[in-house]
Subunit: 401 residues, 2 copies
């Protein structure tokens, strides 16, 4: 891919209009009985917006590639997810609201069952979250540092937890401490370059210590650690796009990703209406608002068609409130598709609508997957959405004479 | 971007059909009262051509990126404008018909007002073109060389002029000699690499000499020099596409860009009808004709909707004349959009029509932005237009066995 940031650096200006990027997570879907949730939903506001907007559809990464939440959002924010990789440890940590700083390294942990050095269950029988949280508490009380490296534990769902290591010299070029397959002997973390040797020793020593502390438990008697990652250095929104950006999102992972790219994360409450209120209250202080609606994805993952329809209708109901603020640019899209039929993220293109006074409007009358596929914007990479929004907001100069 | 030239090198043949690339500058537009100029114009010939053609729309550089005339044309000619940058000095020089050769370096000049070393007006009060031309004449008479480097001055519009330096060893890796902001002290040109040190000295010495010559004038008493550029080395049409190419264009800048890529620039007269005549007269001597219509862009820049409509209608009227020559391939498109609403170039996709006996025709009945957005060619990079034209002209072999 062409490096979009290199091009934008030459032409982005620090003045211009206000932008709202409304992301309905996992918005795109597949028809069931001829209708997708977007088609089934009663969306009078989105449909009348469509008449005054340009439509298109985005490819989150590449044709056929299903993005995780990290790559899906990075693309929309204009960061090539193939170039900017966010370690799974970081995403897991962000997802449970762990603060990660410059000298920290995080890893995803699994409680596991070991017997005679062989991993017999990588998930320790999927313990209930509360039971697992108690074991995390035991680890907290018993282990605070390893070889001078501060160690902290954070409970996750079921068998999952997060470990945070803190020391100036940590290096995350490490292999996973995980045999991947059950019935295999424990696999220790290995350094991928000489500078990470010392970090690997600390990681492996920690696992041994955890094993000692938990050795008498029947199931949760071992830990696997994976996805070692330091805080990733991403170019910041204020530098690359010269906008003051705010994030309105209720789920920790999305708040975390927004923070990584330099957005101010606002108090956003719990409901979509709370989020609209946060937008209204902070309207004058920012140039760019990322507004995240989570539950379209959650219901897609659960295969709950009607509930997904309902979240879309709820989101439709706040469109007039957003328009009352008179954003210069309003984009309504998703970070990927999550078809109810598949109960998972998918690779399908994502509906995209851009509203501004410079929209080549007039072709479309409703907002759904099929209308977007025929829209005037065509099919494009989500990676191009940022430059499109900045252009519509009058924030880009001409490229070349 | 994939290097298209590398691929073409393997498959392009030197025989095949004749191609006409008709570029209506700034063709794409936005609807006003539901109609773009292309929709409003009465274009019976283009519409009946659309029925026998494939339609699509092009992205000149990237989504959201508004191209200058240089990048817009380079893309259409198949040269990635991100890779091939044409210095602003060169474009300015080409635009006023200055001949630039291998040992030349050109720069854009501004007459400015200096007071106690501070630039108080970067444009010297925007003098009338005639007045500025007289001052250029004074410079010509007083300065012919600096440190053995030959120096020539050419008048431009208002405060603008062009300087051409000639010596074998010149290096254009220089910063602009321009403080950018008024109220700042003069900024001298600095070399961006050691080899350009000597050139920077010549440039700065020239500015001092200009200052001496003009010191008693109240306003035009200084010069800022920017956009230093040597003649860019671009792969030539005859090499990369194996076609003998001619340019029919009435404006110097477009004649200049065509020359840079190795086209023969024909006597083209002043009107669209003159241009058609040039096409007819030279028909037998070339394989590829670039035919440029300027005023669609000029009227877009002036916000003159009806006049843009009229230029489109005038262009429509010569379509039968072009078809009578029986080109194997006729493309009708623009280099970018110039919406009357915006009075400037824009990033919006550009209508594209390709007519040949191998067109997948049948879907479209008219030629306009919306019909093109839904055309069988889809939305594609202008950079891909050349290979498409060559393919339709039977000038590309199969790629791979």
């Amino acid at each position: 891919m062409v490096n979009r940031h290199e091009i934008l650096k030459e032409i982005v200006t620090s003045s211009g209009g206000k932008i709202v990027l409304l992301v309905m997570d996992g918005l795109g879907d597949l028809p069931i009985n001829g209708m997708t949730p977007l088609m089934k939903a009663s969306t009078p506001n989105l449909d009348s917006l469509a008449k005054e907007s340009e439509l298109g559809q985005t490819i989150p990464v590449l044709y056929g590639i299903t993005p995780g939440s990290g790559p899906g959002h990075l693309s929309l924010f204009g960061y090539d997810p193939v170039e900017y990789k966010i370690g799974r440890g970081i995403l897991e940590a962000l997802g449970i609201d762990v603060e990660v700083e410059k000298n920290d390294m995080v890893a995803r942990g699994n409680f596991a069952t070991i017997s005679d050095g062989v991993i017999v269950d990588r998930r320790a029988g999927r313990p209930p979250t509360e039971e697992s949280a108690k074991v995390v508490q035991v680890l907290k009380e018993n282990i605070e540092e390893v070889d001078g490296v501060r160690v902290e534990f954070y409970p996750g769902r079921e068998h999952r937890f997060v470990v945070k290591f803190t020391a100036e010299w940590l290096d995350d070029s490490l292999t996973d401490a995980d045999p991947q397959k059950e019935g295999n002997p424990m696999e220790w973390s290995k350094p991928l370059k000489p500078e990470a040797e010392r970090t690997a020793q600390v990681v492996n020593k920690l696992i041994e210590r955890i094993g000692e502390v938990l050795k008498d438990r029947p199931k949760m008697n071992w830990a696997l650690l994976r996805g070692f990652s330091k805080y990733p250095k991403l170019p910041q929104f204020s530098e690359v796009y010269k906008v003051k950006a705010a994030a309105i999102a209720t789920y920790p992972m999305y708040r975390g990703i927004a923070k990584l790219v330099g957005m101010n994360v606002l108090e956003s409450g719990e409901t979509i209406e709370d989020e609209l209120k946060a937008l209204e209250e902070n309207w004058n202080d920012y140039d760019f608002f990322y507004f995240h609606v989570k539950k379209t994805d959650s219901y897609g993952e659960d295969g709950k068609f009607d509930e997904k329809v309902h979240v879309i209708e709820e989101t439709d109901s706040i469109i007039p409130g957003i328009l009352e603020l008179k954003p210069d640019v309003l984009v309504v899209t998703g970070d990927h598709s999550t078809p109810c039929l598949m109960r998972s993220h998918s690779w399908h293109p994502v509906p995209f609508l851009i509203h501004s006074k410079f929209a080549r409007k007039g072709l479309s009358k409703v907002f759904n997957e099929f209308e977007c596929a025929r829209g005037t914007l065509g099919t494009f990479y989500a990676l191009d959405a940022m430059s499109l929004m900045l252009a519509h907001a009058g924030r880009l100069e001409k490229y070349g004479a």
